[in-house]
């Protein structure tokens, strides 16, 4: 493809008319008693500020420090995660997949944008984008490389395409050098991208390219 024929896929600026149309529809639905402004505001507030990847970080940090919880999480993710209070839409049926020295997991939804809201919040733009959805199941190593993630040659990638109502959370590997850290400090290390599987977790100061997991 030649550069000047390639239009932007940024896709966050709609025609102005859409902004107006959305406002008009909202007014219409409120006037018809089908939605309430207060509810809309509360929904936005919920997913903009209350439900986000911090929830998932707590799940991961607890699994790293509590072997019983980890066993429960891998056996019955829905129940284990609910025990921490993280439940709701798009998280009714959870499965946690564990990264190890030989397996790296990656989550995608090729058909739409299925994503575990209660533990990760709403998905980032790239997760919903056509390039990620198309390539994650075809060339996962190439996808990881775009995130600066290199895996050793003997690490096998397992891709999870969320085609039903099962939702997947990756349990990343705990970085070495974090022995004895409290759960809260470990949770600070856990990134959203590591729980989708496009990145590994490194200690602050580590090589950010991710080609070594710890120093």
């Amino acid at each position: 493809m030649t550069s000047d024929d390639h239009h932007s896929h940024d896709h966050t600026e709609p025609p102005d008319s859409l902004t107006l149309k959305v406002k008009a529809l909202e007014s219409l639905l409120v006037e018809k008693g089908l939605v309430s402004e207060e509810t809309l505001d509360a929904l936005i507030e919920t997913y903009e500020h209350k439900v986000g990847p911090r929830n998932g970080s707590h799940v991961v940090a607890k699994a790293w420090t509590d072997p019983e919880f980890k066993a429960w999480l891998l056996k019955d993710a829905t129940g284990a995660i609910a025990s921490l209070g993280f439940t709701g839409r798009q998280g009714e049926h959870m499965q946690v997949v564990e990264n190890t020295d030989t397996v790296h997991n990656l989550v995608v939804c090729t058909l739409c944008s299925c994503y575990p809201w209660p533990v990760l919040g709403l998905p980032p733009v790239w997760y919903k984008s056509a390039p990620y959805r198309a390539r994650a199941v075809r060339d996962p190593r190439g996808v990881l490389a775009e995130f600066g993630t290199q895996l050793d040659g003997d690490v096998r990638i397992e891709v999870w395409d969320s085609t039903a109502e099962m939702r997947y959370l990756v349990l990343p590997q705990r970085p070495m050098g974090t022995e004895g850290w409290p759960e809260e400090k470990l949770a600070d290390l856990v990134t959203r991208n590591s729980m989708i599987g496009v990145e590994k977790i490194s200690l602050p100061g580590d090589d950010p390219s991710g080609d070594r997991e710890v120093l």
Partner: protein
Amino acid sequence: MRGSHDLGGLEGLGPISPEAESCEPVFHADWEKRIFALTLAAGFLGQWNLDESRHARERQSPDDYLRHSYYENWWVGLKTLLLEKGLVSEEEFDSREPRFQASSLELSALQAEDIAGIILKGSSVEMQAEKAPGFRVGDQVKVRQDITTGHTRIPTYVRGRVGIIERHHGAHVFADRNALGRREAEHLYSIRFLSREIWREEPEENADFGVRVDLWEPHLEEVGGVARK
């Protein structure tokens, strides 16, 4: 259906170009927030389910689907369903003035105080199945090739492919029929495919990978034959 939402393996799409995690906002514009919240709140009215909602987004013209941003596609889906289910009329969309009241529909809006109890509780799609599961963990299965005109959760890239059942998730609402408004249980399985079985190319050394897809029993057949019933 064959639609452009079915993206697995599509080529030519260019780089992913992710925003940095530390900088990316949850929403990128106010109109995105409103479409998101309107879609959730309107869904609560119970006039359609999640699979009908997905299908409403998928049914638009394939070039529109690919050209639109994510929440533009939500907008198309929401508008389609409001019209089709008779909650809003074309006339109301055009005039932007209400012409009939929801009271006649006997619907009540989601209230802010219900969010914790409804949205943050979620609702399971697990059901009791009448039949015992037709496949067992470890079975080889082949994905059916049927291309029906309706919504389906079989991605094109696994059609006709052979994989191994790794997990039985129990019986869940069957999406393909749920999109037609029929709430029926079917056994759901996690199936693992090898990349070389899907793409039929010899992987470079150690480059083979596994792909897990969740499919319902009607999506599957025994290798070399029809599904066990």
